[in-house]
Assembly symmetry: C2
Homo-oligomer: 150 residues x 2
């Protein structure tokens, strides 16, 4: 009987490992989704700042608030189990050896987007230009160091 | 000279059409990203409600707040230009003929997630069970009608 249970246990192994793989891929897809949604709103704000679409204070505020909330989300997707994912990812492997620096970048982003959200709503978009620029710099610092260029 | 300009114009056409296609696909990817991130947090809350992971009031609140903000995001991704996307999508085509109903589902979701976020933080997870369940029903109503089963 014991042998039978052990055999059944062994038969389950590939299933568990599949489930686990699925799970770590979910983390990758989740963090990419959070970055996608963040980038979406950030680019729309950029288009307003640069005059490619009309500036709308309320819309800018709505997007800045979304970005501020979204900036806190992707962090939890970077778990060790995703190191060897086979999903397409632009994350450079050195991130796994410089996690303190990575976390610092994340914190800088969260701080910058909170500031942008709090200033958003201004009637004059020129009042937002430098805060928007500072946020963009936080994105770029991290991309330059930890994201493969496409 | 006029002819030359016209020719140049024609040469540009495929480029413009590519750019436009790219743009409408961005909408599809964006709305899917917003739903992915929403589902992520919603499932983690479900795991707490169902006792599969320990209940943590602060974490539940953080996730419920995220879901409430996220629920307002995907709506803008459903533009007419995405009707014929070649990206994989589970959106049923009948949504395009029942947009009023779809919008109503979206509004119901936004309302339910706001209520969940405002109740979240309760010490006893049983106080959240029915509000969580109501939110899940809003997800399901829309999925049943407008999402292909996978």
């Amino acid at each position: 009987m014991k042998k039978l249970i052990m055999c059944a246990g062994l038969l389950l192994l590939p299933m568990l490992s599949n489930a686990q793989e699925q799970r770590s891929d979910d983390y990758v897809e989740y963090r990419q989704a959070a970055f996608n949604a963040m980038g979406w709103h950030f680019k729309k704000m950029g288009a307003m700042i640069q005059g490619r679409i009309p500036y709308d204070a309320a819309e800018f505020k709505r997007r800045a608030t979304a970005v501020s909330v979204l900036s806190k989300l992707p962090g939890e997707g970077f778990i060790d189990e995703t190191k060897n994912t086979e999903l397409p990812t632009r994350l450079k492997s050195e991130m796994w050896y410089q996690q303190e620096r990575f976390d610092q970048y994340m914190q800088n982003l969260i701080k910058a987007t909170a500031e942008l959200a709090s200033k958003a709503g201004a009637e004059d978009k020129d009042d937002l230009r430098s805060t928007y620029g500072n946020t963009a710099r936080q994105c770029k610092s991290c991309h330059d160091r930890f994201r493969e260029s496409s």
